[in-house]
Amino acid sequence: MHMSDALLSAPVAIVGDALAIGLISVAAVIIRKRYKNVNVALMGVMGAFVFAAQMINFTIPGTGSSGHIVGGILLSTLLGAWPAFITLSSVLIIQALLFADGGILALGWNIINIAATSCLVIYPLIMHPFLKRFKKGYVNQTSPKKHKYPAFVIITILSCLIGLEIGAFGVTLETLASNITTLPFGKFLLFMLSIHFFIGIGEGLATAAILLFVVKYKPDILFQNERMERSGKGYGKMILTFAILAIVVGGVLSWYASSKPDGLEWSIEKVEVSENQEMEDANPLHFKSEEMQKITSIFPDYMLNNGSENEEMIHERAQTSIAGISGALIVLLITILLAVLINYRKRKQADR
């Protein structure tokens, strides 16, 4: 799911953008050094391919709904981790610019949640080692091919699933750190994780099927990577980047947690009480109250301010008197009316 600027706070957005730019710069350097003949054309056209592929939906078995793949694991298998990262990032950037899918400032975290997790973390850790063995077995014909296929499918599904879940987790963390929405962290997290579970399984099955067909029709695509890539050194850099990421994210979170100690502690009791009430009233998710209490007690420090205030917080807000708000709204409405009118007139003139 693509983040929007509207749900991020300025510092969180900026941290994300800085991290993403950092990763991209690292990618540029690594690609130059590690890949003998970078097939710039291939990366480019595969990026366009991702767009086309995302326009086509398949029905997810068991749920009846349809979805499309994101393509992180697919791209990484075909292109290698770092080129796939650049390719997927470019797709996200173009989606933000041409299709208004996500915002400019949110690009940073979108790139990290969607591109970095699948290409730079999950693929090297889970998929790549398995692929090495799979390819060796395929080339040497040491094991009957059919035996490896179920393992291939399972590993692919696992990779897609974990990748998407980490991405979903990232989204909730960033929303939490921004302190913009009052979505309770626990509920939101569960919601995101459960939705992405099915999406992950679907994507995993689709990716596995696609790769198996590619191997069947034109196996040398899969082995082209070998000729391009040198041996798997350089993961140290990736792990380092991931570690920095983790530290920064953790740091941002703890900063927020520590900056509002009173409000949060006070809100815990409030939450536990009001959660129960809301369960009956407006909760669309229908969680059992015991489960909710368990969750709230595990994450006591992460409950968002749900309206309970102390003096500090009121000072942070601007003047919110009724006069101020209504005045502003009136000006806005007048401007909109004028703008629409002028726009309409201009359209009419242009038509003549």
């Binding site: 749900l7 990366m43 919110t320």
Partner: protein, 265 residues
């Protein structure tokens, strides 16, 4: 497959409107990019309950839209999905955050509702800013400006390539789709197996194409780096534009004009 015509016209809509805009196109895109970022960041630094000071941002954008003659329908059409998504998330604010912010007699407005509307306005501002940036600059000059701003060459090249080949790939996918449909799969559910065959075909065709493109590049002397013409100069007019923009942002963020309405009344 979603209607190919619609998707292609969506992509083209960003370009065809670039010709309409007047003053903005002659501005150096490096300036527009930086200004847009500062504009958005400054808006995000306001408190989430501060609807009063977010509104001037909306008004500024409406004025810019008028000046650049970008059709409103275009903005609305492109932003509807994301705004719906934001709405879905933001609606939890009024549900959960029920503390009263303002009372008019017995009518109470909660903080939740304030933040809800502010989030929506932010969503609108962020989407519209991005769209104005791309539409008035043009995607290709925008990419070149990004390179000037020190974005790695490999990413900029990537963006240009993807842009160049999106439509080609979409048409190819459409052809395969028609081939499948013409043999009776039009109404059946698109199973994963069929989908996988489709996508695998597309991948193989894409690889073949990439080979040819690679050869085309090598046959014209490609040595690993793609150099584009850099004819964007920074003119006095650009400095002028940037100064005005920064002044406006300063007024929006620091002077907070609408805060005074409260005091006036």
């Amino acid at each position: 497959m979603k209607n190919l015509e619609i998707i292609i016209s969506e992509i083209r809509s960003v370009e065809t409107n670039a010709g309409i805009t007047g003053t903005k196109t002659s501005v150096n895109p490096c300036g527009s990019i930086l200004i847009s970022i500062i504009f958005l960041v400054s808006m995000l630094t306001f408190s989430i309950y501060d609807i009063v000071n977010t509104i001037p941002y909306v008004i500024t954008l409406l004025i810019v839209l008028i000046i650049t003659s970008i059709p409103f329908s275009l903005i609305l059409r492109k932003s509807k999905y994301l705004l719906l998504f934001v709405l879905f998330i933001a609606i939890f604010n009024p549900i959960i955050d029920r503390n009263t912010a303002i009372e008019i007699g017995s009518f109470k407005i909660s903080y939740g509702w304030l933040s809800f509307f502010t989030i929506l306005l932010r969503g609108f501002v962020s989407i519209t800013t991005a769209l104005i940036l791309v539409i008035s600059t043009g995607f290709i000059p925008l990419c070149k400006a990004l390179e000037k701003l020190r974005l790695p060459n490999i990413l900029v090249t990537q963006l240009l390539f993807v842009y160049r080949y999106i439509i080609v790939l979409l048409e190819e996918a459409s052809q395969i789709s028609n081939a499948i449909k013409s043999r009776g799969y039009g109404n059946k559910k698109f199973t994963i197996k069929l989908y996988a065959i489709f996508i695998a075909q597309l991948i193989i065709k894409t690889y073949t194409r990439a080979e040819m493109i690679n050869m085309s590049m090598i046959s014209r002397g490609f040595d690993g780096e793609i150099r584009t013409r850099s004819d964007m100069k920074w003119k006095r007019r650009d400095t002028f534009f940037c100064i005005i923009a920064i002044v406006i942002i300063f007024i929006l963020r620091i002077v907070k004009p609408f805060g005074y309405i409260d005091k006036l009344l």
